[in-house]
Homo-oligomer: 189 residues x 4
DNA sequence: CATGAATGAGGCTTCATTCAT
DNA sequence: TATGAATGAAGCCTCATTCAT
């Protein structure tokens, strides 16, 4: 990616995470990025475009990493374990991003809405695919893979964010173990 | 509650859910509520106060309903079932609210931050309590009740919102069954 | 008219005449008018609206005065004399306005274009009517009343503006006499 | 003239006429001219300079054509006829230019103001000269040659522009005949 | 108490101009 | 000499908040 575009991206995530998208001004972003205010508009149509580009970019990176990491893994169970681990690591590393995504994803009408929905869908579908695979192989028993997929995403996403917000850091190991255990074996003794 | 305050609350949730808190103007809220703009300031310090009061109010209602509904239920398992059901019903009924909460909760520094954290904590703690209880009674096996509690909240919250956003309505029955099953018995066959 | 709207109008003509519409900022107008910047937007949709409202208002006033003044006058010749006089007086009194009108009338596409054309037409039509009347009464000999009307307007308008710009003041008497003479009796000896 | 300077000139009139000087950006002009944005600044100090150079250039061309065309003509009456014809033809051919001139000429303080006034004066003076000449030769009867000259310019300029704006084209023949008739013989029967 | 006209700080965006290549 | 990426001053407009009625 264009290095200046990347600098802007990094500055934007940082600020957006700290103060929200609407709480952050274009001026702040340009200062954080060390470029002129006008330069932002050479790389992004407007603020809305910057926000949704950032969101797409994040989902794409996450989806990409997940896809890459589960490649070669055979069993659906092991894939799920890997997915949880990868996501938690990603959230830990990019907790700014995680917060930004969680907050802004459930966005309101904007001109890039459809685009975002698609990207988000790509991401969900990967997890859903693993679960469907597990069902076919008789490894899993879920009736509705979509509910199961979104449930897993919800578990990982909110625990990571909860830890980040209330404890200051994402406790990857602790969360991973428990989440995997619950998702795979359930709570019952 | 003061009826005019309630009218403002209802108007605010509706608008906030449609257009986000920052996308909604005080004028719009006052018009939706059928009162003068100045009147809003008799019931709330400022916009920030309105937003966080609304958030507190929502969490309190939800916590309240949950507490009331699980009263008298004996086993932790049954309590969890009830909690999931009650939450889904609440989200279905107040999906505007659900969207608003999910989006605005992970809020940024504001003068009511601590207050909100506390309210949110109350809510989490109820679920956590049920799980601890289940562990003590040897019904549950979780190592970390907090992770388990937040996981459950994440599952319910994000599936509900996902359905609302992508399918237009919260499919309570379908989600409830699957979420309870996963949370209690896990995915493995 | 609303007194505050009028204050804004007066401030705007003054500034527009001095520095052009695009050279004048909304802030300058608000300061000249002694009101807050936001107040301008209570009385006018936006800057474009302010400009075209001002233009319509001016044409309407001018048309109004002309219509009122020629009422009761019998011969077309005397009406033309009065029209020239009234216009010159109006231009002298509102030379800011005259300059603004001349410069901005030949405007470029904007959302009020049609409205302005109509107003301008009303004004032209009054003069045209007098000429047609004179032709019917066999007083005048023009073949094309529209060319004649616009010619008269052009004579008055540009001489007035020329005097204002190059001599600092509109020499009503001198211009009136000569313009009327040329228009009615021509240049030939 | 330098061919690149000419390309820029042509691009500028076209754009200025379509969208006004302030509505046209330097980028648009450079694209229309097929040169880089920076190149404009090799040929013109700044935008103001481009605008006023264009204005001077136009007046000079017009004055030049008029001077050339009336050369050799004897009577002031015939010269006036020629002047009207030449101007209308010029306006018809360069109606973009005509619109631009009328709109921008009554300009506001800028650093080239004096220069423009002088150029404009040259142009006025030619017409004035013919009228003075006619008076001396006892052909004309005007008391104030300046008023008469500016009146003629106003008639031609505004009728041409009026036709262009309201009918889409300058009806040279019709306007010429009527304007000449009025100016020379007046309206009276 | 209730209202909504008035305010002005501050946001987003544009664009004339510069300057390194 | 020609270019166009970069800049940042400055404009238009919005909207939370106040306060006279």
């Amino acid at each position: 990616m264009n290095p200046k575009r990347e600098k802007i991206f990094n500055a934007a995530v940082k600020k957006f995470s700290e103060k929200g998208t609407t709480g952050t001004t274009m001026k702040e972003i340009s200062q954080e990025a060390g470029v002129g205010k006008g330069t932002l508009y050479r790389y992004f149509e407007d603020k809305e475009d910057l926000v949704s580009s950032l969101m797409s970019y994040g989902f794409e990176r996450l989806t990409e990493v997940i896809k890459r990491e589960i490649e070669g893994i055979e069993s659906a169970t092991d894939k799920i374990k890997k997915v949880v681990e990868v996501q938690l690591e990603f959230y830990k590393k990019h907790c700014d991003f995680c917060r930004f995504l969680t907050r802004e994803f459930w966005g309101y009408k904007n001109k890039f809405e459809e685009n975002i929905k698609e990207i988000r869908s790509d991401y969900t579908v990967v997890i859903e695919g693993i679960i469907e695979e597990g069902i076919e192989e008789n490894e899993f028993k879920a009736k509705d893979p979509e509910v199961a997929a979104v449930s897993l995403i919800g578990m990982v996403n909110l625990t990571a964010l909860h830890w980040f917000m209330f404890k200051g850091e994402v406790a990857v190991d602790k969360i991973r173990e428990e989440v995997i255990d619950i998702f795979l074996s359930g709570m019952l003794n």
